[in-house]
Symmetry: C2
Subunit: 215 residues, 2 copies
DNA sequence: TAGATTGTTAATCGATTAACAATC
DNA sequence: TAGATTGTTAATCGATTAACAATC
């Protein structure tokens, strides 16, 4: 797949939502769904859903719809959730601990091997069975343990330094919670969780909801 | 501003980023910036930046650019950051504690008055000076304390119940961290932070980066 | 004034919606 | 078979980019 036919980011960002609802349906024992029913669940139009899915193949069947389990599994593969990833967390404060404690990530295949911090009060502690180590050991640890994803839950002042260590260590995917835009090599993927921006957006809509309600 | 000329959500979601960079510039003592320089910082095109800002007024000056402090202040007003908000957090686990501990939110005007949980092991504890109370007291507390924003950091199973209490108590803005889409009245604004979806998106791009790099 | 840069219109591009033939 | 629903093309809509006159 070259640039010409790569799938747009807006489509990709809808896939996890399909995946989540399909997982819910499996748990409810439902094994068939139409684009129209999926539309009701997700809020995307049926047309959009069919378009989105057809970027990756014809998963449906005319007159029937989609097999829930099959589609869930296909989307899992597309999203790369059919394998496991070794991750580390830099920043052992509450946010780092929250991520480390969240079992949903491990169930989805994202295993936190270790956490790192520079504050001695954290070093040596354990979150579940995950040890908090000195950040000075991070580079070696990543190289020795096949770590693919680096998570950043430090204050923004340290975020770029951590990113630099991650990249030097060979990490290609960074999940960044610090409110900063990190500079990284072209072949490194960054996904930002900018909580400030999210909160400020809420604030905007709270103050302007009359313009958007029933619009 | 009616439906016809309301500003699109894609524009709104860029505003916090402008706001953040302008704050950085103020701290650096820079008091003037052109759309082109702001483009370099943010990654949006200069044309887009001028279009975005002109949705709200002509903040610039031909031949000069934008006054940093003035633009920052205007964007702050637009985003509703020129006032303060009372908030509460439902869910006193790590994520709730992380939000409660994050001083950046308070500096931006979002004050956490209390946290609520149903687990007795949390009730009575304090995060900074924020008390964790029994969720049964939540409705009364919200009504008595002018709470405008409700934050949800519970597991997904409780999220809808919490949202229902929030709405019953008169809250109009919900910041939801649970991996669920909440059903709320039309006049209630929800901003979701879906960490799963973010992580899965990272996973997709990590597995398909060859298609997107240098694209 | 001359140079710079905005505000704004027009052109382009991309994403969403509508429609329907294909087909299970 | 008849009914249902996909896959896919065409039409529409909206967002981004380009261009330039206005103006500081």
């Amino acid at each position: 797949m070259d640039r010409e036919n790569r799938v747009s980011i807006t489509v990709i960002r809808r896939l996890p939502k399909y995946y989540r609802y399909l997982g819910d349906l499996i748990r409810k024992g439902i094994n068939r769904i139409s684009s129209q029913e999926l539309s009701k669940l997700t809020g995307f139009t049926a047309s959009q859903i069919r378009q989105d899915l057809n970027n990756f193949g014809g998963f449906g069947q005319q007159g029937y719809g989609y097999n829930v389990e099959e589609l869930h599994s296909q989307l899992g593969k597309i999203l790369g959730l059919d394998k496991t990833y070794n991750t580390v967390i830099a920043g052992a404060g509450n946010l780092g601990q929250a991520v480390a404690n969240y079992k949903g990530f491990e169930e989805a295949g994202f295993k936190v091997l270790a956490m790192f911090d520079k504050n001695p009060k954290f070093i040596g502690l354990k979150i579940r069975d995950i040890e908090i180590k000195d950040v000075d050991e991070m580079e070696d640890f990543i190289k020795e343990n096949d770590v693919e994803i680096g998570i950043i839950t430090t204050p923004k002042e340290s975020a770029q330094d951590i990113a630099d260590i991650y990249i030097k260590s060979g990490i290609k995917g960074i999940w960044n919670f610090a409110p900063a835009d990190l500079k990284v090599d072209d072949d490194v993927v960054i996904e930002n969780v900018h909580l400030n921006e999210s909160l400020f957006t809420l604030s905007y809509f709270l103050n302007n909801k009359q313009d958007y309600v029933r619009g």
